[in-house]
């Protein structure tokens, strides 16, 4: 056995020498034979000839000898590879098209897989992530907040923290704005305030310094902060001595106690329910320092690390105990329950489905690419039948030829795969650069080992897939038959056209699915663009004015005064046509909401009570936004706390709670009985609040000068809207000056055109549309090329038949009809299958659609017609060639 291996290796390494020796040995034999004949009396020439005949074919024998040596497999494969390379080089057209097609398919799949890997498969960068759980409140289905995960309120958290037994540590976090002053310009950053259990629950340890402990999480010690890595780099220039330094945050000196590593970014908004307002990027963490007995609104996220050995069932029991106790204390909350979600699942809630759908679309593209290349290779191999049969006649075995074809195709696949990696890299770069920012951990997506292995597997798979089918078909040799039928008409096998037609039908069907999906997204996008947003974004700029949490602005009256002063100064700017502010402008975020009570309606359980969004507005806000006032009047400066309490509602709220009536003059109030009711003085048109896609919710607008509750909603920040007379480039500076005149320490945050905020809300949709349209277009082109190939080849093969038909009286029109019919049948079959497949798959997309159903008949029909048109167009050129056949020429070449 070892001897065997040694002999083989020996043979391989000294191959050239052994070949030469074999040649010499055989030559010697022929010479001896020649001599024998010479001695028998023949002439030199005659003797040589007879010797050679007697000897037989050299090559065949050498082949047998080589095989006897046992090295033939490797040698032959190497030879095949070199031959394949040569053949590929000699056909640059085919090679380029095939390699490019493969590169596109493989590259796109690899990029998609890399994204999926980073987002779905790789573990979260927090060391306790696998045992971390988040808890949300739920209301019964059908209530105002039904089907929504609700954050915790301070009193709920303290109740649960006091009695829970399932968690090792739990902590809460809540969004907080940080006004960083003391440097050049006051600047607004967003982060969270957290309780002592937050960092231990996640298992995050600081890169520099330390994290927040129980010591810090109490009154008097809470002026400390932990910086995020990116803030540390951008604002403090990566100062290694930052720990211990003091910075001015919200007017108070705050000590930096630590810096987190670059991977710690919790919370980053990923997968969190809309009800929990969170910063998009956390700049820093500070202690929340909840006093005992704290009461607040539902604005905190709760995260905890499960105790070792606690099962999911035990956790649910623990939560049920808490729910029971909570309902005991608040009987009107009957029907509420708590839901636990593992952190690993939470983080990908929003993205799992879209990513999987993307992978599906990309794999469809890969399939189309593969079948295209399979068709190309099949065409080429059928054209090489003469070559194969000749080689068969010279002694090549069928397995040898099949092996050679397979190696050739594997080589082609590797070429495609190599370029595919480049395509993947480029695609990833494009997605990172232009893609929606809502994809979490996008930066982590890269070509790593697992991804490269995936690409390799895909490459080999596609190579074998499109390699074997033609190899089997083309090497089925019938020597006599193939050599008898000269010229291009070596049809022979019936399976090759059938395979090709099958591939084409598959391509058309797949293209159908992609183009339908793209069409649905196109309609969604169009509908979103043209939907009535309820405001006019032309020449409107917005910005946010957050007030620092200092003694200067502790009183809500004082806050209202400042906002009013700023508004007055803004209105004085000549370029400003109208100005106003509200808690949240449309597209500016989520508003507060509350349960409401309407007098004269029966009292209900809290779970079934009516609700509405609730926010402050200033006079002039609606005109500035271009939101028409449909009934009644706008709020005015005279609507103060000493006057009648008023409110404006939107059309949705009016229709929902006072259908068929005029709501002006009716009364409505917040759920708490001790807060007096307000009188409705006007109805405004509906506006889209969070995105163009959502239907409007009931909205209640309250004058900012009538803040009687004081603690809620927060007046800490207001968003201003300015309608300009025209384009004005100096408006930012003018606004800065206006604010400076009131208080130079106030930051002007998020200054932007409203149009841009609207566009930004559509980034994800736009990106999806572009990608899917790109895929659809690619699929269309590939299908068209495939159709062209099939029909052109068929016309070539049927040249004689066409000649005969024409000679027998068929007109050019008949020939055209014949060709178009052939193409049409294939196309219609593909379209039919594609319609069915599209109908089954687009229903997965429903959550991404707006204004159009997943099985929209108009889109399906339009795409079917489009595909048919493209297919027939692809048949035109071969059809014209068919019509131009001269029957005499065709018959003569028979």
């Amino acid at each position: 056995m070892l001897n065997d291996l040694r002999y083989r290796l020996h043979a391989l390494s000294r191959r050239d020498r052994m070949e030469a020796e074999l040649d010499e040995e055989l030559r010697f034999h022929v010479e001896c034979e020649t001599e024998k004949y010479c001695r028998a009396g023949m002439s030199e020439e005659e003797a040589q000839r007879r010797a050679r005949i007697a000897f037989g074919g050299h090559e065949q024998m050498k082949e047998d000898v080589r095989e006897a040596r046992g090295t033939s497999l490797l040698e032959q494969s190497w030879q095949d590879a070199r031959y394949a390379l040569r053949k590929l080089r000699k056909n640059p057209g085919f090679t380029t098209v095939a390699a490019l097609t493969l590169a596109l398919g493989i590259g796109a799949s690899t990029a998609a897989f890399s994204l999926a890997d980073a987002v779905l498969l790789q573990p979260l960068p927090y060391s306790h992530a696998s045992r971390d759980v988040m808890v949300w409140g739920e209301t019964p289905v059908g209530s105002f907040y039904g089907n929504v995960d609700l954050p915790f309120a301070a009193q709920e958290y303290q109740l649960y923290a006091g009695m829970q037994q399932a968690f090792q540590t739990i902590g809460v976090f809540r969004k907080k704005s940080f006004n960083l002053t003391g440097t050049s310009e006051p600047e607004l950053q967003e982060g969270v305030e957290v309780s002592a259990g937050f960092f231990p629950a996640l298992g995050g340890s600081a890169q520099l310094g330390r994290t927040i402990t129980a010591q810090d999480d109490q009154a008097g010690h809470e002026h400390v902060a932990v910086l995020s890595h990116w803030l540390w780099q951008t604002h403090y220039h990566g100062d290694r001595n930052i720990v211990g330094k003091t910075v001015d945050v919200n007017g108070s000196p705050t000590t930096i106690i630590g810096v987190m590593p670059v991977s710690f970014v919790f919370p980053d908004g990923a997968g969190m329910p809309a009800g929990l307002d969170l910063p998009r990027r956390t700049a820093m963490w500070v202690p929340i320092a909840l006093p005992p007995g704290a009461v607040g609104s539902n604005d905190m996220g709760l995260i905890g690390e499960l105790k070792a050995g606690v099962t999911w069932a035990q956790l649910k029991q623990d939560l049920a105990r808490y729910d029971a106790r909570f309902i005991e204390q608040h009987p009107r909350a009957k029907g509420y329950w708590s839901r636990a979600v593992p952190l690993t699942e939470q983080a990908v809630t929003d993205t799992r489905l879209p990513l999987l759908l993307w992978m599906g679309a990309v794999l469809v593209v890969l399939l189309i690419a593969c079948s295209n290349v399979a068709g190309l290779t099949l065409n080429r191999s059928v054209g090489r039948r003469k070559e194969f049969t000749l080689r068969g006649a010279l002694g090549a075995r069928r397995t040898r030829l099949m092996r050679q074809l397979t190696i050739e195709n594997l080589l082609l696949a590797s070429l495609g795969g190599g370029f595919g990696l480049l395509v993947a890299e480029a695609s990833l770069w494009t997605v990172k650069r232009f893609g929606p920012a809502t994809l979490p951990r996008l930066e982590d997506a890269s070509l790593n080992f697992a991804v490269a292995a995936f690409a390799l597997v895909i490459t080999l798979g596609t190579g074998l897939f499109f390699g074997l089918t033609p190899a089997v078909g083309a090497t089925r040799m019938n020597l006599a038959e193939a050599l008898r039928e000269g010229g291009q008409r070596s049809i022979g096998s019936v399976t090759a056209p059938r395979i090709r037609n099958g591939l084409l039908v598959l391509q058309v069907a797949l293209a159908m699915v992609l183009v339908v999906a793209a069409g649905l997204l196109l309609r969604t996008f169009y509908d979103m663009l043209h939907t009535d947003a309820g405001f006019d974004a032309t020449h409107v700029v917005t910005f946010e004015l957050p007030l620092p949490a200092s003694a200067q602005y502790a009183d809500t009256n004082r806050m209202a005064q400042v906002y009013s002063e700023v508004l007055d100064r803004l209105a004085e700017i000549p370029a400003v046509q109208s100005a106003g502010f509200a808690s949240v402008v449309p597209m500016g975020g989520e508003t507060d909401s509350t349960i409401i009570r309407i007098p004269g309606r029966p009292a209900t359980r809290q779970a079934d009570a009516p609700g509405a969004n609730y926010q402050f507005v200033s006079p002039g806000f609606f005109p500035a936004m271009g939101t028409p006032l449909e009934e009644g009047r706008d709020v005015a400066a005279s609507d103060v706390l000493t006057a009648q309490r008023v409110t404006i509602v939107n059309r949705t709220m009016a229709n929902l709670y006072w259908p068929g009536q005029d709501p002006v003059g009716k009364q409505v109030g917040v759920g708490m009985v001790k807060i007096p009711l307000r009188t409705i003085i006007g109805v405004v048109a509906d506006t889209k609040q969070a995105s163009l896609r959502e239907p409007p919710s009931p909205e209640m607008y309250v004058p900012f000068t009538q803040n009687e509750i004081r603690t809620w909603p927060s007046m800490q920040t207001m968003q201003y809207a300015l309608r300009l007379r025209g384009d004005d480039s100096g408006i930012a500076a003018a606004v800065r000056r206006a604010v400076d005149a009131v208080d130079p320490d106030l930051p002007v945050a998020r200054f932007t055109r409203l149009r841009m905020m609207v566009d930004a809300s559509m980034t994800a949709d736009r990106f999806a549309l572009l990608l899917l349209s790109g895929f659809g277009l690619l699929a269309l082109v590939l299908a068209a090329v495939g159709m062209y190939g099939v029909i052109a080849y068929s016309v070539l093969q049927r040249t004689a038949e066409i000649g005969v038909r024409m000679a027998l009286g068929a007109g050019r029109g008949d020939i055209l009809g014949m060709v178009l019919r052939q193409g049409g049948v294939l196309a219609l079959t593909g379209i039919g299958i594609g319609l069915l497949a599209a109908w089954m798959t687009t229903r997965l997309m429903t959550s991404f659609l707006y204004g159009v159903k997943a099985a929209d008949p108009a889109t399906f029909a339009a795409v079917a017609v489009l595909l048919l048109a493209v297919a027939l167009a692809a048949c035109i050129v071969p059809a014209r060639r068919a019509m131009g056949v001269d029957p005499m020429v065709a018959l003569r070449t028979e």
Partner: protein, 110 residues
């Protein structure tokens, strides 16, 4: 030219081994010798000879060496190895047994 009588692969091996048992020979000489001694009945086709020789070499029963032929040309000479000699003995024994048995059956009068 195909061989005039069919020779099984195993038999060919045995003949080759036997012809070089006394002294090393080169390929052509082996073929000639077998042809001569068998009075032209067994003509080894060159298509079978060289593959067989190389197969035997691969199996380690014969060893090859370049040497000078009768008219001073380079030729490849094959010689038996120790393993080859043992193999030859085994095959001869087999052959005797096989042909003896066949003969018995054929000679028996029924």
């Amino acid at each position: 030219m195909p061989p005039s009588s069919d020779l099984m692969q195993g038999t060919l091996d045995m003949l080759i081994l036997k012809s070089i048992a006394l002294k090393p020979q080169h390929g052509w000489a082996i073929a000639q010798r077998i042809q001569q001694i068998s009075k032209d009945v067994l003509q080894i086709g060159q298509g079978s000879l060289y593959p067989a020789l190389h197969r035997l070499e691969y199996k380690g029963w014969i060893r090859a060496q370049w040497g000078a032929s009768e008219n001073n040309r380079r030729a490849r000479y094959y010689a038996l190895t120790a393993a080859g000699r043992k193999q030859l003995e085994a095959e001869l024994e087999n052959w005797e047994r096989l042909t003896g048995a066949v003969n018995l059956v054929l000679k028996a009068s029924y």
